[in-house]
Amino acid sequence: MDPLHDSAVAIATAVNRGEMSAADVAETVIPHVARIDAQVDAYLQLTPELMRAQARRVDARIAAGERLPLAGVPVAIKDNMCLDGTRTTAGSKILGNFVAPYTATAVQRLLDAGALPIGKTNLDEFAMGSSGENSAFKKTRNPYDLERVPGGSSAGSAASVGAFAATLSLGSDTGGSIREPAAFCNVVGFKPTYGRVSRYGLIAFASSLDQIGPFARSVEDAALAYDAIAGKDPLDATSIDRAAEPTAANLPRDLRGVRVGIVKEFDTAGLGTSIDTCYRNAYDELAALGAELVEVSLPTAKYGLATYYLIAPAECSSNLARFDGVRYGLRVDGADVGEMYERTRAAGFGPEVKRRILIGTYALSSGYYDAYYLKAQKARTRIAEDFARAFELCDVIASPAASSPAFGFNAKSDPVAMYLMDYYTIPVSLAGLPSLSVPCGAVVPEDGTRAMPMGLQLASPLFTERALLGYAHAYEQATRHADKLRPVTEGAR
């Protein structure tokens, strides 16, 4: 068993059988991750002592006869999730010295299932961005081309798994922050239905959209992680109170009888010939597996970006009001408390966060609320209704996960150009649907020479995670696109 490259399923099986101890997994992984991360910068912080201590606990539980679904599986945690006693920054200077006093539910459930925490991963500040470049601390590189971005906002969570510097990771997705970086880094990224995974201990960005989900190098591994973290949590009132059926067992091998919706308005021809060819090929592959391709229409999906860029900043401006220099985080002194607030927030937040706070504050302010925020909430209703109508004709919708393969650093200086990367993921998020990105091929970018990974987004009706993971598994096992590319990082494989 090779804990650096094997699947989570294989590692957990070997550790449960006593073929390898969790302690041996940790000692193999710790130096390897440090070597890879020197090239990729996926991590803001490595936690080798926590990893060793957790490995000892796991080995003791196995010795006592327990069997754990993630026994000894090395995992990375996006640094907007609390892990008791560790620095948790959300990629922001305003939380640069914040030490979490408790552990997020999703993280705790991973640990309870036997996973070993490698460290905390880099992200766009407060999960706001599509490239990772908005981190206040460092630039994470794409493991398939170090001169390109890994995507965002879950930049390090995608890059660590893509670079074989983690077996699984947790990310969070508000408008595409799991699916887009998964596509860029040749991994599976899964955003469950809104509410399936507790947000307790996740630093809030846009509370009606935020959802935690896993990254993995296979759909089966993503399902295993999802099964560990999903379910009602009394500490998150919005978490869903319905049984989450296990998804990882008995995943299907074909798509016979499955109706796959191809969205009329998501014509890929405008994305360029090579991208268009990649997605047409992916749709053909779905058909070859027995799926029936049906055209569906989402006439209001084109309003998704505008809707999102009112709702998400509005919620962000409210959520980020708590960072005021009083109870935690940075403080910059002022003559009175108001000046202290203003200076603290000026020094602590980066430009993208400031832009979103300003837009959100404006959209919620007196005289503009109806025209912007309320209008956007009504548009959200229409977008969700379009999906519901489409699902009368199909079981799952297939589309691009992102508008392009990974781009170079500093390539998107205009904020709106960056926002357009999430054209296909945002309407799905507004509707709250479960959705994932699975590798579907490679494209040589117009400004590059190296083939970069591409992701196929699949989205299905609310609460149909098991079916969705099944479709993705069947596609992945038949096509094996991820295996056709190798990271450029040394020692990756």
Partner: protein, 103 residues
């Protein structure tokens, strides 16, 4: 006549509402970017939302109530609750003056 978004948003006023000090350089950068974004979201005016209910959150939800009792698993000790504070005094968070002295 086209009303420019930059004429609609008073960035200094909005920054005050958001308790955010902005430098002149930031105002010069953000003003056209925010104007551009507002023009972009203006396309929503094309979308008919008459008689459409607003969606705050997509998944059906209801009020969640619980007994008014301590939950030991979420209790922070006094020290832990203060551990991240920039300034404390006598077991409290310390902040700069809130009221002017002559009030």
């Amino acid at each position: 006549m086209l009303v420019m978004a930059s004429d609609r948003i008073d960035i200094r006023h909005v920054a005050r509402l958001a308790r955010l000090a902005l430098s002149d350089a930031e105002i010069a950068t953000f003003a056209p970017q925010l104007a551009n974004l507002l023009s972009f979201v203006d396309e929503l005016t094309e979308l008919d939302t008459a008689n459409v209910a607003a969606t705050a959150q997509v998944v059906p939800s209801r009020n969640v109530e619980r007994a008014d009792a301590l939950r030991p698993e979420t209790l922070l000790s006094h020290d832990a609750a203060l551990a991240n504070a920039p300034q404390t005094q006598g077991g409290y968070f310390r902040v700069p003056r809130i009221l002017a002295e002559d009030i």
